[in-house]
Symmetry: C2
Subunit: 632 residues, 2 copies
């Protein structure tokens, strides 16, 4: 199949859009009339400019309110069609989208509409143009692709076919398998869009909430499987209207668009092995087995403070890099790398963001396949020169310019610790038990709200990870949205937190760290109380929670006075749901807003303590905001 | 009645909220449990802090999922109630909101619920607490205030009453007049919220889209009239959840809240003259008769450029201020004042925003009443020292720190031109005809999107102005929302344009002018073609529109080739609707993004040419963005 995107889906001037769309690798565009009207240059020149970018005009759109009119209105509709066909001829466009009428005076009647299209087909034939008819979900008489198909069938004209759009079909909960009975050669074009499942007016939903396939909740894969099952093997194109995208960067949006299509077609290929359509072959979604390491770039006083914090949490400095100023700290299965190099990637990350997480290592089955899939999905590969005796570990760029390294057993890359690191004298060869921290429970990444859909798509399209519903976290100074992506077994969990204003804790971290990504790391323990005791003995200062918090806990969950007293003594936060319980203990935040969390999960609790977030944030803000100082 | 606001309605830390709420003049608060849990200090201390701010705790909320449970769940619900009552006793709160249950195991049954409330009332009596029951619009069994009232009636307990909330009643389109049959002494508390009319899931709508009464589309006045008609004369309180508000400033939100309540109660007083409730008496909404002047602060080369532009549009410099460096330019009924003073308000506006509109004069019937209403509605009065022989003209602060002056015939203030200005030699005593501009058609103010609701409320609550539905203007680099407020006869029209990113034309104007307000002025003509001719003769350079624009116009409206050619020759934009036609002609933008527009309205066209906005913006951006220069 060939990939295309409607110019309306991305932001920027028309030229900026074309450049972004071409560079990322789309083969065609849907030209949206508004883009084109605003442009200087004749249609002929614009058509040439598009082709000069290596792009085909896959579709010209929209042509509205055509069918079902009578008398003078009908005559004018045909005049408008001819004017559009003239423009298309100059542009070099041979396919037009006619969407079902919303005209207040349009009459219904399948045969009347079929007759209109047969007549339009005759005119289109003169121009060598193909007309595609699409049922808008809010069309006045036609709002179901089955009805549109019946009109196309009865129009029975070689220049008139059907256009399918996943949003219009799925928004009305029409079974996409009804597409399987439509002949491929009568499908003129296929448009894709996803959307979050929020019950609302269809037109409003469509205009403001559409998103890339995989970014929303609609069964777009089922839709596309049905399309592919017909034998259709032509254009698939994104048509997205989204308020968040309007202010985005053209290249990021174009890249996300292609990523979503490639991942979707790959899913279709695996689910429908018998289809004949030409679909790209890429390695399957990557199962992630765990977090191998988290690397900080840090130096000077900040490095000392971070080391002291790690030590107070039971971590031990177990090894040093053979040739670099890089320390390995460890506890249980958690490896923290502190990089104080003054050249290379970590140094440039330090220059950009200050002390921060610059690198995350994920354990995978095949690092090579991971990078192959990631780059097929337009992730940016990362390389830096490797020193003597060092291993070349495959990597791509992640959130906020950080790096994701992939380590596998097969190629021995997980032995990097033996090869590149020298144990410190006196450090036990075994991983130290410390305060009972066993592994990384989750990594919390902060970004601007506008980037959340993009990074959720990144993780869920490259890896075998699924996303949770988005929740609102109420910061006293603004809303933060939070969504988690996780492997099914919970071996890797990442929370994405989208800030809308700089005044939220997440927003001020973004500002302080100039777009840095990881705002907190959560470690797992099997016994939160034992860990809390060990931490206190080691001088760890927990984030203090209010008495009111514990009073409310008691009422909320019916805990005993003793249980609540025990939680309060250690400043442990608590949540529970029908599946289990969750205990949380926070460090005090560093100056830039970074912090650590320690959690214990009981039963099958799979959340992140969202109900506690407002109280945790208020407590952190109390520590970070000097009392009595004007805030603005 | 007494005014209150839920702390959850505004942003900031709890203390910041209290300060803002108290300063603006509310008498009480609804304390939201989350605010309180996050606070340090015992409930007793928090209660004292609230009272120290001069505020009463009007309501404690929420208590959820109480009624309709059985067995252990029911026992725990009563335990939760006692815990809350304990907290309330310490806080000093005597009224609690119980919202109708959404618990999956809650059983229905009016009598069962009534029994639960009778029992709860007995416990509440021990504490001296009043329980208020509210029907959530999405309650599992009870989602209509009539059912909640029936439960309260059957509970038949002096400590149990009804809470009414305009959102929950109006969102379900329940006739608010059904409230008139409820006895006032059984209504415990009244909550107000408005919302824009968008069809969507009720809970989602409520959580994200609520707004201050008058900022949305619900008939909140009808609701409040019905409440007042019962004889209810106690608390009215705002409970607003809105994504836009989360990141706002506490004081602005508190002020808007009080403004909305005061305006609403004034409307109720006028509509229901027989009610006995104590309502504030303020002057009625102010009819605005026209724009008397628009004043720019400008100097140096910028003043020269502005003067040259005015001259090319047919304005003439007709008079000078008797003592200040202030020029009066005129054409038809349009007065433009150019202020180059180096001290005083205009000078500080210049220092802040550069050359910009700093002052707008509106003609009203009574300037004194206008200021009285505006200040009752918490507008900020504006004064500056008056020189010898100058008139003291009443004024308040408007958008972006600019000033709104009010001039009336009665007190002779409209004669300011004769008193303070000296005609220039050679200038005709009559208003010059120039290029045929007759009056100011509209003033376009740009602001951040977050401020739009606030300024629409400002205009519609102080003046007899109504708002149009909000429309999306697609800037290539982001979304701009636009809404107009206008007097019924169109004598004063103001468009409010909310920018979300700095990369839009509106957003870059905001950034360039450091929050400046008026981005363009539109003058009216009765003959756009004659005006265009006169302008060209005077050297005016119109904003050039593309050929593609005119090609599309022809197809869109079925215009003749001659009509389109005539429009194209003068770069005139065209729109029409069922009521009439609209012609627009734009100046080129100044460096900061300010520009002029000239319009002709035919028939009863009352819009602003929104369909043309994307093409106009693209044309302006082409002029403002140097070709080939990287934009980011």
């Amino acid at each position: 199949m060939k990939t295309s995107i409607a110019t309306v889906s991305i932001s920027g001037s028309f030229r900026e859009k074309l450049e972004a769309i071409a560079r990322v690798g789309f083969q065609g565009i849907e030209i949206f009339e508004q883009d084109f009207i605003a442009e200087e240059g004749s249609p002929r020149e614009i058509g040439r400019m598009i082709r000069d970018h290596g792009l085909e005009i896959a579709l010209f759109q929209p042509f509205r309110d055509f069918e079902g009119l009578t008398g003078e209105l009908r005559r004018r509709a045909f005049d408008r069609a001819r004017a559009k066909f003239d423009t298309m001829a100059e542009l070099g466009a041979s396919r037009i989208l006619v969407c079902s009428s919303v005209h207040p005076e349009a009459l219904g009647g399948i045969d009347r509409a079929a007759e209109d299209f047969r007549e339009l087909g005759e005119i289109a034939r003169e121009y060598g143009i193909t007309v595609g008819y699409e049922a808008l979900a809010w069309g006045r008489h036609v709002n179901d692709h089955r009805d549109a198909w019946e009109i196309v069938r009865r129009a029975d004209h070689p220049n008139v076919g059907l256009i399918l759009d996943s949003f219009h079909t799925l928004a009305r909960r029409i079974d996409p398998d009804t597409i399987r009975r439509i002949p491929a050669d009568r499908i003129v074009f296929v448009q894709l869009a996803d959307a979050p499942l929020i019950e609302m007016d269809l037109l409003y939903w469509s205009r403001h909430f559409r998103c890339m396939p995989g970014e929303g909740d609609l069964p777009v894969t089922d839709f596309m499987r049905a399309v592919a099952a017909t034998g259709y093997d032509d254009w698939v194109s994104l048509e997205i209207f989204n308020d968040q995208f309007r202010g985005g960067r053209p290249e990021g949006l174009a890249r996300d668009g292609l990523r979503s299509i490639v991942a979707l077609l790959d899913d279709v290929r695996r689910a429908e092995p018998d289809i004949r359509a030409r679909l790209p072959e890429i390695p399957p979604r990557v199962p992630v087995r765990g977090v191998e390491f988290v690397e900080f770039t840090t130096r000077g006083a900040e490095a000392e403070a971070l080391s002291a914090m790690l030590a107070s949490m039971g971590f031990r400095h177990v090894a040093d890099h053979v040739s670099k100023r890089v320390e390995l700290w460890q506890q249980g299965a958690v490896r923290i790398v502190l990089n104080a190099e003054e050249t290379g990637f970590a140094a440039s990350a330090w220059a950009m963001h200050g002390s921060s997480v610059c690198d995350i290592g994920l354990r995978v089955d095949s690092a090579a396949d991971t990078v192959a899939r990631a780059t097929a999905l337009k992730a940016e590969p990362f390389h830096q020169p490797v020193g003597p005796g060092e291993l070349e570990i495959p990597a791509v760029r992640g959130v906020g310019g950080s790096v994701l390294h992939f380590l596998d057993e097969a190629s021995g890359l997980a032995r990097v610790w033996e090869v590149e690191f020298r144990p410190r004298e006196g450090a036990a060869p075994e991983a130290p038990g410390g305060a009972g921290l066993t592994r990384i429970d989750h990594i919390a990444e902060t970004m601007s709200y506008d980037e959340m859909l993009s990074w959720a798509l990144f993780y869920t399209s490259i890896f075998e990870m699924t996303k949770t519903p988005m929740v609102d976290v109420i910061d006293p100074d603004g809303l933060v949205r939070s969504q988690a992506v996780a492997s099914r077994d919970g071996a890797v969990r990442i929370t994405l937190n989208g800030a809308e204003t700089h005044r939220t804790l997440a927003g001020s971290f973004l500002a302080e760290s100039f777009g840095g990504a990881v705002q907190h790391l959560a470690f797992a323990t099997d016994d939160i109380f034992a860990t809390a005791g060990a931490l206190e003995a080691a001088g760890f200062e927990a984030l203090p929670m209010t008495e009111n918090y514990y009073r409310d806990l008691k009422a909320r969950f019916g805990l005993t006075a003793e249980e609540v007293e025990r939680l309060a003594r250690h400043h442990i936060l608590y949540d529970e749901d029908e599946k289990g319980a969750y205990f949380q203990l926070y460090s005090r935040p560093f100056d830039n807003g970074f912090f650590f969390e320690i959690v214990e999960r009981r039963g099958a609790y799979s959340g992140y303590g969202a109900p506690n977030a407002p109280f945790r944030i208020a407590a952190q803000k109390r520590l970070m905001r000097p009392k009595g100082m004007p805030r603005r």
